[in-house]
Symmetry: D2
Subunit: 349 residues, 4 copies
């Protein structure tokens, strides 16, 4: 295994890599089959009322096992909040929370202990750390997104007080863009024991002018990084995006005008609400591409730790179209980004 | 202008936003028509030999005025290195450098002083800071990319000692993917006083296994953020990307195998060299989408600071297809990201 | 309350301020009387064996109620580790842990709800956040140091594998430097219902040459910041420190020499093991000054939220000399700093 | 040189270590005898008027060669500002500046090329980086403080608009605290070709209530780190500090009261204007200890790179009491810290 050793940069570890954001931050931890996953939200302003019902409803949106189109795993996704909230109001102190893991079936994964599943993180984690929690993907499991949604719900409570609303939805599955056809394709793919990719579209309304930091932290750059950090997300664009590749500048430029109230606005929004990396007051719209889930029940060729060829057929829970379950996660990550930029932009002349 | 005032988060400023990277960092400064632009590269390991000819050749690749297809502005892009190098070798101290601005024609821009050019940063900067250097776009000018290329050249000197090579090229202009047709389209667009979008493809070879930090700082997430931070970049994908949307998991999964030397590798590379956010030793490949340059000579409708409608016809220098000039910038940003992740991954068990 | 309002910068919140360190980081959360306190240690290298007995012994050292000289509060300080450890070995994933709060007596504090205790954080928190968890000091409680000790214990496990050992002890109480006299003074002070300050001395052995980053992150600068972040720490010095103020350069300079093995070393160590901000291989020694605990049972004058003068006599648990309990906390913070700098310095030429 | 090799963590480099601050940041570069030193101030709010005369007067205060008590080196310390300022007003863009090095006499240092001067950074830099710019201390030279003073002057322009004023002065030299005796002692020490330590006291007036972030970034913790990052600073304390070690809590607690305007204030200020890590509206006062300059003309014993014993007598320029020259540097670093915390605290409920 000369090359593998030669190339192995060896057991480095995440460095500040489990913390997301600059001022409004989420630091997360936890593996799919450990005692619990959880996070710490720091930077939440003091004085925000916590709406537990809303948070739980967000968790429900992400929870698997709610439709025949998503994995059957039962998860009790009720975060236990441990700090930063006093008499239902945020105090400005960090908000720590945990979500206990239940319904674990390590036995599902025992047989994958020494196997590198195709297009999974098994091989790269093993190489990078020299050790891995192989149960359900460990730290690389989609289970981790439950923490993002819980933190995103807190960010949304902050944002909605500012009149900012985020809405994502599945806009494409494979080559289908029509709802009934998308559902049909997912069902068919599931029946085939296969998986399919999709695209989630997201819009942000009520965003003030001025969010985004020039040069290296443009608003769309941060949104892109946030989306691409979600498991299986392989692409991002905003405004006209890749589909506007055929347009000329004279067609894609958004002409400025003044509305009935005398406010400066634009006639079109091919810029997706962001110009020069800064929000311009229009609706922000972007897309996130999700590849087909790597986990499929169809038989596949791969190798084990020793490099010996074997064929596997994964029986664990999995989704035919992960993009479907990613919808609330996309919203949550967008909420964390906007909350962060709201704080970053809070400085008067 | 009620809404504008209401929405204006007012004079915040870049916050650590002119620094790129975690351990291998670039902090940049400078406006298009100020005395100079420059940067500070921190984290460059000690003991690296500086190849000034290579750095200059990289600057030449970005420099405008070299072809009839790019802006006619003459720039003398020779960085003056001020520190961190002793007898031609890096010392581990920060490398400061400046590039003097020459051939400035502020008069070109005087007439744009109070005008918000469509799809430019004029409006958002004015709203965010309450003041802006309107000469040539100031901080938002593509001139800033010269600093990225100079810093990227330093990163490349570090990377090539590790056998890592980065290569970008223009792969699409409008709907054309064939070189001669792309050039034809650019010429035609230029003749029309218009602009057109394009896509730059980039590959990274020789990257070790293990670069990338799980969860919030996946390698592709950082590459995406880096590309999206380049002016006019509106999209990013890697591996099969958006064009692979029709594929099934069974088609897109990269089966593991062992090569003749007994190293574990993959039969295909739809993952674009990255799995679970970590490089897997295969060639890394991604794409960056660039929208049509906002600056066109065709007459356009817009408003001035007071919101009064006016029509403008920009005479300043500009590119018909900014993607063409972005090629060396894409390489430079990729080099900064890989250098940073090499340092991040440098920790033994 | 004009001035108070005028000066009140109002409800800002900790910003990334509950995360300590650059690469080896601790993010903590929790209040004295909430459900739990806890933390996330990120950056712990993969492959470190976790010695739970050692961690618990460290917690015991900090735990109050073990001597007649410290507060009588009973705490069950057993951290529950939730992630980052697989089969007793660190995986490189973040290590999340919580410590449940028990033996809470909010009633002790109900009477302090609207009172600003002298030299406590009551007033400043109220002004800064507009709300505060007044129970036992909330986030400002010394209870928070339990998280530092748990995280420090993890850092020590990493450091001891590198042969680095940290040892702190109480070196002065009031003006007394002799153990029996120090204990005598503490007892007398306790009997008086008063409190007294002290100094903790700390030494670090086995530190390699080269830890410390020039200019803004010198090793002693980071150690100083770490100590000063501990409640009641009001001073820091290293090497000869304040007591060496009368020495001349010719006396305080540490002459270089070579030892029997031919290694370059110094004849004296007035530099405290750090030169130019970088460890020089000698024993690192520094001191941390702790002021008298603000909480005393003696009657004191103060005001309530409305500014009405009142006199209070705090009956809650407290220590006559907080420096005594700070000893393991000083070690823990030093361990976090050294672990962080070990990672920072891990880059070859 | 076994141990040296064993202990050498080898050529790591500053990692983000040439950037100071969180939101109001200074990134600096430059060596004593390179072409120039300089910095980038990022986070300066837009709309601040630049007073160049004030900046120059601050530079003059630091400049050597102004009194017989400081080094004779002539420096032209006029910063050239390159960006972030438009028509005399800050734009919110990063402010880059350089200060050319003049009057260099490398020959002064040629003889020190292979020598490790006692208590200097020569040995540790050589070990850490494997290479060093030995001319005048290179990056470790006090020359670097000119950049701190230039950046601090910018911060002061921002602070004085907020009514915040910073004042430092030499309060002790050796054991002398009386001005004329301090001067006498410095002169005598200079005549002896020796050096002496001193203490700089600093006060900050007009600071609003609420600056400081609880737990890991307390205001005094940041001030301490800032001071300890200045060359030769070996100690820090605030409020009663080390000299208050004999006081009881009942003596040192600052009783709250209300002033004539009905504002809550304190009767005493042993807390040095900071409680719970947050400014309480009183005058902030702290001390910074400076050890005797390592550079003395007296003959000293040391070793060269090969560990061969030699004796040296440094003829280069140096100060008999570096604390004297540190006064404006202490103010500059305090200004950078306060400006940073003002931005950090700018978030409404």
């Amino acid at each position: 295994m000369l090359r593998r050793i030669k190339n192995n940069v060896s057991a480095s570890k995440q460095q500040k890599m489990n913390t997301f954001g600059t001022l409004f931050t989420l630091t997360s931890f936890g593996e799919s089959h450990g005692p619990a996953i959880g996070g710490v939200v720091d930077g939440m302003p003091a004085g925000i009322k916590i709406d537990y019902d809303f948070i739980q409803s967000e968790m429900q949106r992400r929870r698997p096992g709610q439709s025949t189109l998503t994995t059957a795993r039962k998860e009790d996704d009720t975060p236990e909040f441990l700090s930063g909230i006093f008499e239902g109001i945020t105090t400005g102190a960090p908000i720590g929370f945990i979500i206990r893991n239940k319904d674990q079936r390590p036995s599902d994964y025992e047989n994958l202990k020494d196997v590198f599943r195709p297009s999974h993180a098994d091989f790269t984690y093993q190489q990078k750390y020299g050790i891995r929690d192989y149960r359900g993907g460990g730290r690389a499991s989609a289970r981790e997104t439950a923490v993002r949604v819980a933190a995103g719900a807190l960010a949304k409570l902050f944002l909605r007080e500012r009149g900012i609303h985020i809405q994502a939805r599945l806009v494409q599955v494979g080559n289908e863009k029509e709802p009934s056809r998308m559902e049909e394709l997912i069902k068919q793919t599931q029946a085939d024991g296969d998986s399919i990719g999709g695209i989630v579209g997201c819009t942000i309304q009520g965003c003030p002018v001025g969010l985004g930091e020039p040069v290296y932290n443009k608003l769309h750059s941060a949104l892109g990084a946030a989306m691409l950090s979600i498991n299986a997300c392989h692409g991002f664009d905003y405004g006209a995006g890749f589909e506007g590749i055929g347009m000329k500048g004279s067609e894609q430029n958004d002409a400025f005008t003044t509305d009935s109230e005398g406010n400066i606005t634009t006639l079109s929004n091919f810029s997706g609400g962001i110009q020069g990396g800064i929000s311009n007051g229009q609706e922000i719209c972007f897309r996130a591409l999700f590849k087909p889930t790597a986990t499929i029940s169809k038989k596949q060729q791969t190798v084990n730790k020793e490099g010996i060829p074997i064929s596997i057929s994964v029986t664990g829970r999995h989704d035919p179209c992960v993009a479907l379950r990613a919808v609330p996660v996309v919203e949550a990550m967008a909420a964390l980004v906007i909350a962060d930029f709201l704080l970053l932009s809070r400085n008067s002349k």
